[in-house]
């Protein structure tokens, strides 16, 4: 793709987005849509910044990011290790697969009551639910990546004298990477979706709490601001993860 085409795309995209915001702004300012129900983006952002101290907003963001980081990191590490191990060691696969397949269709949010019973109302229960959101897609894709490896690759590795763990680390894991990467991105998106719901219930901090609390206060500005904020953070982090993946894995696999 040449640079001029890329520029043209970016301009068209910006024009489309700008047009939509302009329409929204106009609809709101002209009184077509009441600002108490659906404020214009500028109204929402300015209104929020006037009523809620910036430090509080950053505090909510920080809390949420902390939860999602721990939940996702735990899910990614355990999911990768268990997925790869059960794909490599067949006996382990026979043990873990049925359990994972049985629990996978249960939506992460449905675990919230059990999470509260097991871990109480504090941080661990939220981290646990976010962990589940990340764990299942990652463990499944790691496993699929492992069993989908081209046998020729493994045979070449063996011919070159690689055995056991070395064959796993040098050949099998890199070959399973593209699948794993897809799982990691799906897992990240899911953890983010779960985060808000986990915070809607029994939290006193975090972005999900911020918007739920704003509902009780009837502050639509904060709600709209919060929705945009959560979406933007999700979008930026997803893009960053995608860029890292492309840079690392793009070398031997086109995504």
């Amino acid at each position: 793709m040449t640079t001029s085409v890329r520029w043209q795309d970016a301009v068209l995209g910006a024009a489309g987005t700008g047009g939509l915001f302009l329409l929204w702004e106009l609809a709101s300012r002209s009184g077509l849509v009441s600002t108490n129900v659906f404020p214009a983006p500028t109204t929402a952002i300015i209104g929020t910044l006037q009523t809620v101290p910036l430090a509080d907003i950053l505090g909510h963001v920080w809390t949420s990011l902390g939860r999602i980081f721990w939940g996702f990191a735990l899910g990614a590490v355990l999911g990768t290790v268990i997925g790869i191990a059960s794909g490599w060691y067949r006996a382990l696969g026979v043990l873990t697969r049925p359990l994972i397949e049985l629990l996978r269709p249960i939506p992460p949010l449905a675990w919230i009551p059990l999470a509260i019973i097991w871990f109480g109302l504090g941080e661990p229960s939220k981290v646990f639910v976010i962990f589940l959101g990340a764990f299942f897609p990652i463990v499944t894709s790691a496993y699929r990546g492992m069993i989908g490896i081209d046998p020729a690759l493994l045979r070449v590795g063996q011919t070159m004298g690689l055995r056991g763990p070395m064959l796993l680390i040098r050949v099998a894991v890199p070959a399973a990477m593209p699948d794993l990467a897809t799982g990691i991105r799906i897992g990240w998106g899911l953890s983010f979706g779960v985060l808000v719901a986990a915070e809607l219930i029994a939290a006193d901090r975090g972005m999900g709490f911020m918007i739920m609390n704003a509902r009780q206060l009837g502050d639509v500005d904060v709600i709209v601001f919060g929705i945009i904020l959560i979406g933007a953070i999700n979008l930026i982090t997803d893009y960053a993860i995608g860029a890292v993946i492309r840079r690392r894995i793009g070398r031997w696999h086109a995504i």
Partner: protein, 260 residues
Amino acid sequence: MVTSRIISGLCLIILLLLWQFAVMSGFLKPFQFPPPSRIGEAIVELAVSGFPNGERIWTHVGITLWRIIQGYVLAIGLAVPIGLLIGTIAVLDKLTLPIITFLRSVATLSLLPLVIIWFGTGELTKVLLIAYGCFWAMLSNVIAGVKYVDPVMIRAARTLDTRPLAMFVRVVIPAALPRMFAGARMALGVGFMVIVGAEMIGTIQGLGALIMEARTFYRSDITIVGMLFIGLLGFTITSGLSWLETILLPWSKGLSEVRR
């Protein structure tokens, strides 16, 4: 294959037995880890007398299913024509790409407070939330399906002097259908994810509500029954959709790429 399935099944049974004995011997607390026998009793209780307020399990399943179907059909019905339009017209695709990318990133459940303010806590709120989540998952797949039709097929059809309308109906749409089905399956997953969150508020009917209500009554066994049922429901429908796909789209064999 068959033997490994039998071993898998045996492992599950052993696990359940271990769980049962761990609770009976007092190693695990029955409230925190209700044993399989208690869960079995809870299923019977839900089927016969119902919980809470005599709502039987079938009512919960039926209501959850109906909410998902409404939201899902609404989303698919809107996403297919809009996606076909955007995917066909390149300028439209470029204009809307950032908007779609952003709106897809918006966490569906973060819309809950806003939608409650607009429409209250009734049925409409739940259906709309499900529709929102499903819509973007479907839309981006429809657009991608149309956009990334193999150019060789288009060129081949052009060589055969195919008219624009016939090209669209006979070449583009069939080629895009596998991807659209993948989108439909993804959307369904999103729907099941959203429904639990949506049912946490303003209702005592539906599996999501059952799971939450059971906690307030300290009935962890019923929570687990609810989880099992929603998992089973999701699994059944997803499998049904895959089966439908193999029947309706025998030409979609390169789908393993999309399915990832």
